[in-house]
Symmetry: C2
Subunit: 240 residues, 2 copies
DNA sequence: CTATTAAGGTGATATAGGTCACTCCAACGA
DNA sequence: TCGTTGGAGTGACCTATATCACCTTAATAG
């Protein structure tokens, strides 16, 4: 269970060097962190801005220091598919570090005002040759992300929209939920339309199914940006 | 374009040590390869046999030496989702090497009589500490596989079954096709039912859509195990 | 505070693909 | 060679969700 504004950041001073916040660098000493901190260049992005574009070349690793980022793919007719929502400490762009001939496989948007640390491929090469265990950390994270994406694919292919929506709610309990007396309160970082783009249905279907779950007493909609999950257990059963 | 029986193997003696066939070991010297060859244990699997099961613990890397393997996930009600078909030189099981607390995220079946080389986590640790660049090779492969799975997820979520089927045919032209005078002849390693499980539709829909594509003159069905693609260009346009 | 725009809800309708039931065919073993 | 079995094709029907059109509510700027 994670606070909406990221817990990993809160462990450290808010203004501290961002490499400190990144799990893949966690094993490094203060001196080494300092060295990396000097390499990174900081970038600010306003809510709604794109950080990278699908199809473009890149050789940079993006590490989220503050804010939230959605990774999306678009079809030719403009239909969006959200891959995931990333928060503080998460990174992306790693594919282009190791496959230099490939282009970005997705577009990334700031969904809040966002602060990003950027490391170039050259920086990473230097860091990794000095600290080979960082490659292992990366492998750990990337292989886990692969498993998560495989689960997403399975879910999209084999499960009914209704079940997928229940699944999304349960996932977001972990990711964006805080425990309150009546259950778990999810602070959504995205709109209904974006939820639809994540679950692979239309906005209308999201409205209707959330309404249905509310009627069943499983959840309670609090404005448009919050969902109170009153009966997570039943939602999990729903998923089977 | 790849021959059905894998080209990577054919580059070397058929009976040669399997680490030679694996791209991630390609940079190693003969002496080092020999060392690894002594570590691997060979295993044989008959057509249809499961190599590993979803949900079970494992700390082994499986490298395909001969034959073909499908990686699948199943829902509680037995619906299969095929993640991909792997051939000679491909590996799987890497997630469990780096996330030791995790269980297998998929089941793997031999779809031919198959020969597998198995390396344990301990072996890999030894190899990687001696050759840090192997971690990079792994990262290269895994990040690319992640991109491919993200594409699969997008396709399942945003594209019509009909389009996904066209997409699958185009993908299989590359993977299982050989050029012939009339076009590209795909030798399918799987049944209609399995195609359906890959594309995320029912067997009936596969039958009907393949029939439709045949009527349109785009393909020609040759028995049940071959598809002659007469007009790949139009299929690609179909995908948009 | 109002005006404007973006986001969200909802009813009516159409339809693609799922489901079911059956037939046909091909592969394989005896 | 036949017979058995699993794979594949096909028609009839059904239903969940996309679509379309419209209305309502929330957010934002001036």
């Amino acid at each position: 269970m994670k606070e909406h504004s990221c817990t990993r950041c809160d462990q450290y001073s808010d203004s501290g060097p961002c490499p400190r916040k990144v799990p893949i660098f966690i094993s490094l000493s203060d001196k080494e962190i300092l060295k990396i901190t000097r390499m990174v260049s900081q970038k600010q992005f306003k809510k709604g801005q794109a950080l990278i574009h699908e199809g473009e070349k890149s050789d940079k690793l993006f590490i989220i220091n503050k804010g939230q980022v959605k990774r999306s793919k678009f079809t030719v007719n403009g239909k969006e598919q959200i891959l995931d929502i990333m928060t503080c400490g998460d990174f992306f762009g790693e594919m282009n570090l190791f496959n230099t001939e490939e282009v970005n496989n997705f577009t990334a948007y700031a969904i809040d005002d966002t602060e990003i640390c950027v490391l170039t491929k050259d920086d990473i090469d230097v860091i990794m040759s000095a600290h080979p265990d960082i490659a292992i950390k990366l492998l750990k994270e990337v292989t886990r992300r692969l498993a998560h994406t495989e689960n997403l694919a399975q879910s999209l292919a084999t499960k009914d929209p209704e079940v997928r929506i229940a699944q999304m709610i349960v996932e977001y309990c972990d990711k964006f939920g805080t425990e309150v007396k009546e259950g778990i309160l999810i602070s959504l970082p995205i709109t209904r339309e974006e939820i639809a783009s994540y679950v692979g249905v239309t906005r209308e279907t999201i409205s209707r199914k959330l309404g249905k779950f509310e009627d069943l007493g499983l959840i309670s909609l609090v404005g448009n940006k919050k969902i109170l999950v009153k009966d997570e257990r039943s939602l999990i059963e729903y998923i089977e």
